[in-house]
């Protein structure tokens, strides 16, 4: 595997295609960030929600209990709606890759494009089987119908694997040689999959997907339970997503530890930004909260040697500081630091909530009775989304000023076209409308009448009023 050393490569990465003087680089970055922020929570539902639906359908097939059937059908409608919105927000992302960062695509599209090609295939499979699954209720035999859900789950995994492989490559670029600003001698398989850096990102994101989809779905049902609507339908709809999120959240801490150690090794400047560590230090501390003033963390609560311990599992290990690179190569510390601490704080709280839930089950074999538990679950849903986005901000802003770490600057990747502020404003407006529309739709889908077993003992054959429309 060939890999050009950073310093000289960085100066020439833009020469082949042409970097531009873009006055609105920051707006371009904000526009991209907005598009990701809208899409990533939907990705979580793409990853995890099909598993919930298929599991509930399996329970129905095994027990013959119609509560599961009603729940699985309703969820499959939600799944389709969120998938449709995910499809379009994902399409915008692929447009923006070229619209906003043409030089990045022109220079490195050949290196990482393979990942998106395979992602495109899994996305295709997902789209095909989601159509078959959702429109196949009552039209395929129960067993076949259940089986058509499996490819959705698998392609959700393979799709995220590919996208994360590309992101891993951006953070740890390998598999090419840069000659006169063109990537030559490209080894696309090696660049994406022999990359040591992407496995932790993949597992971290995949588990995050189950946490976000799990806690958000659970919070949607904790709310009616708090208000006294404790039907078995609502409790089942709470139990299924909450169980998987409760199991995933503590495991995420173990995976997070792995991520931090890989970042320490591969992207020491990013790690220094996570803490606001200016100079290289032996036995480096962690400051909780506080503000980085360009030199050190003010007003933070200092915990000595914790950073060394966390990053290298050795309290006296040497941690590289920000000043290892010139100021122009350092990421914006406060954004990264605050995002990171937000993610860790929320993640820890979610893990605690998960442990409480599991402990209650082990000791009492039922749901906790206290209202505080349900209140916590209601909060956990939105909080998990905040943690998810904070995590992405940590890794993406932490990579700045590079789009391809130490090879191409974001400012070199950006388009030369004018009108970015107009595009940004338009997209912000459209996405605000999209958020309102999705909220409206989910409320409507939750309210729509479905044939509950109490009302119709023999389920309606064929489409009927609750058929997918």
């Amino acid at each position: 595997m060939t890999f050009t050393l950073f310093a000289e490569a960085a100066s020439s990465a833009s020469s082949a295609f042409g970097a531009s003087e873009q006055a609105y680089l920051f707006q371009a970055r904000q526009m991209q960030a907005l598009s990701f922020a809208a899409h990533i929570p939907l990705v979580c539902f793409g990853i995890a929600f099909p598993a919930f639906v298929v599991f509930v359908e399996w329970l129905h097939l095994r027990t013959g209990d119609d509560v599961y059937r009603v729940l699985a059908r309703r969820w499959s409608k939600v799944m389709l709606a969120l998938f449709a919105v995910g499809v379009v927000t994902g399409t915008i992302l692929s447009f923006e890759m070229g619209l906003l960062w043409p030089n990045f695509m022109a220079t490195f599209g050949n290196v990482f494009g393979l990942g998106f090609t395979i992602e495109g295939i899994s996305f295709f499979v997902e789209a095909i089987f989601i159509g078959i699954y959702v429109y196949g209720w009552d039209r395929l035999s129960p067993r076949t119908h259940l089986l058509t859900g499996i490819p959705i789950i698998l392609s959700g995994f393979s799709g995220s694997l590919m996208v994360i492989a590309v992101n891993g490559w951006m953070n740890h670029p390998t598999g090419f040689t840069l000659v006169n600003g063109r990537a030559v001698d490209v080894h696309p398989w090696a660049a994406l999959f022999e990359n040591s850096y992407f496995w932790h990102e993949l597992i971290h994101m995949y588990i995050a997907g189950f946490m976000v989809a799990g806690f958000l779905t659970a919070s949607a049902y904790a709310w009616p339970i708090l208000r006294g609507r404790t039907s078995r339908y609502n409790r089942t709809a709470l139990i299924v997503p909450l169980t998987i999120a409760a199991l995933a959240a503590p495991v995420q801490i173990v995976v997070g530890d792995w991520v931090a150690r890989d970042v320490a090794e591969t992207q020491p400047v990013k790690l220094a930004a996570l803490e606001g560590l200016t100079t290289t230090e032996k036995g480096a501390p962690v400051h909780l909260l506080g503000w980085y003033d360009g030199d050190r963390v003010e007003y933070g609560i200092k915990i000595p040697k914790l950073l060394s311990l966390l990053a290298f599992h050795d309290p006296n290990a040497t941690v590289t500081g920000l000043d290892a690179v010139p100021v122009k190569d350092q990421p914006p510390v406060n954004v990264v630091r605050i995002s990171f601490q937000t993610m860790v704080a929320i993640g820890s709280a979610l893990a605690l909530l998960g442990v409480v839930y599991l402990a209650a089950w082990f000791r009492l074999r039922r749901l906790p009775a206290t209202r505080w538990f349900y209140r916590a679950v209601v909060v956990a849903g939105p909080a998990s989304v905040v943690a998810l986005l904070a995590g992405w901000i940590t890794t993406e802003v932490g990579r700045q000023p590079w789009v391809v770490y130490r090879v191409m600057r974001t400012s070199e990747a950006v388009t030369g076209a004018s009108g970015i502020p107009v595009g940004y404003a338009t997209l912000a407006l459209v996405y605000a409308g999209l958020a309102v529309a999705v909220a409206w739709l989910l409320r409507r889908l939750a309210r729509a009448p479905m044939d509950m077993p109490e009302r119709s003992v023999s389920p309606v054959a064929g489409g009927g009023p609750d058929g997918p429309r």
Partner: protein
């Protein structure tokens, strides 16, 4: 054809598939807007909506396919096109968001009035998007995209005679394809009055699309002489003639209510013209950049083709399954009554919990103290297995237990 041209052939196949399948979905939106207003026509609009339900997402993915193959195999061309044609691509993107949103929202509409409002949003974006994407093709075909980062004119690259003509052709073709397919679907679901309605629309729209194509050719002759030359000689001419013949055959089939062959010839007419464009443009991709020069290195092209080849082994049977279920009417209302195959027993998941516990212990033991890669390679799968097994065990036990204390 050599290796450098193989990806662009696949891109043109993808583009043709998107123009036919995605185009028919856009056209369905078109008919929701212009299909009529009254209560009688509500059925017509409903039919247009239902027909695309199961396949809407899959049809859209063809566009993504074309984009990713382009940026992988021809990255410099991709960067040049997207930066110069940023405006129509952005408009098309916004149209795609509005369309997807409106499509998803329709399943939540509670009254005909709400439904109508959402449909209008859906329909407008169904017209905007093909126009914008047609304009993009026009900009490329008429040689208005130079190589480089936003080197071309941001406005005239897509507001020019060829782009505008292609934008309208895209709208007309979509509406025409949709009318043919919707008439065929109406026969399948046994609604003769809908069949007649869409048959008339198909015939009318065939005339409009044919006229648009002829006007388009005249525009291309003046505005994009290179393409005109390519389309009027050699293999490009063959493609144009094939497209015209297939278009005429479609009109005859629709007039004679033979919709099965009409589906095929309508698709052929569109596919042939996409192929004709490729043949006419060859070997140039962008001005001063041949396909050969634009192509990524050999290793990348081979990797892409291998990935697509292996992907096709999964994709083609899956697509076959989807469309055969659709066309055989398996997704129609009341198609096949479900058989009640139930065991009526609570699932036994008692053994799963101890297994989950073992996985947790092994996973933690392997990942925590050891900093080696092997510890993780062993440990992480065990931790994932712990989540999966624990989930099935606990969620099953809890939700079936919840039954007792209702």
């Amino acid at each position: 054809m050599d290796l450098a041209e193989a990806p662009i052939v696949l891109m043109l196949v993808g583009l043709a598939a998107y123009a036919v399948l995605g185009g028919a979905d856009f056209g369905a939106g078109f008919w929701q807007l212009l299909g009529g207003r009254g209560e009688r026509d509500r059925e017509l609009r409903e039919h247009a909506h239902h027909a695309m339900g199961p396949v809407w997402e899959a049809n859209h993915v063809w566009l993504i396919f074309v984009l990713v193959v382009c940026w992988t195999a021809y990255p410099v061309a991709f960067g040049s096109i997207t930066s110069t044609l940023a405006i129509p691509l952005f408009i098309g993107g916004i149209g795609i968001i509005l369309r997807g949103t409106a499509y998803a929202m329709r399943s939540g509409a509670a009254s005909p009035r709400e439904e109508r409002r959402i449909e209008i949003g859906f329909a407008c974006s169904s017209i905007l998007t093909p126009f914008a994407l047609g304009a993009v093709i026009g900009g490329i075909a008429s040689g208005r995209v130079p190589v480089g980062n936003a080197e071309g004119d941001l406005v005239t690259s897509w507001l020019n005679p060829t782009s505008i003509a292609l934008g309208f052709i895209a709208i007309a073709t979509s509406a025409y394809l949709a009318a043919v397919y919707l008439a065929a679907d109406a026969v399948r679901v046994g609604k003769p009055e809908l069949e007649e309605a869409f048959r008339k629309r198909a015939l009318g729209m065939a005339v409009v699309a044919g006229a648009a194509a002829i006007v388009g050719l005249a525009v291309v002759r003046n505005d994009a002489p290179r393409i005109w030359d390519g389309l009027t000689s050699g293999s490009g001419l063959v493609a144009v003639i094939l497209s015209a013949l297939a278009g005429a055959a479609t009109i005859a089939f629709v007039a004679g209510r033979r919709y099965g062959p009409a589906r095929v010839t309508a698709a052929t007419a569109v596919g042939a013209i996409v192929a004709g464009w490729g043949l006419a443009q060859r070997p140039q991709f962008l001005p001063g950049l041949t396909i050969e020069q634009a192509a990524a290195g050999r290793s990348v092209l081979i990797a892409t083709l291998v990935a697509l080849g292996l992907g096709a082994l999964i994709l083609l049977p899956s697509l076959g399954l989807l469309y055969s279920l659709l066309l055989r009417g398996h997704f129609d209302e009341g198609a096949a009554p479900r058989s009640a195959g139930r065991s009526e027993t609570a699932p036994r998941t008692g053994n799963l919990l101890p297994a989950a516990g073992v996985c947790l212990i092994v996973g933690l033991a392997a990942t925590m103290p050891v900093t080696s890669a092997w510890g993780r390679i062993i440990g992480i799968p065990f931790l994932l297995a712990f989540i999966a097994l624990g989930f099935v065990a606990i969620a099953t036990a809890m939700s079936t237990a919840a039954k007792d204390d209702r």
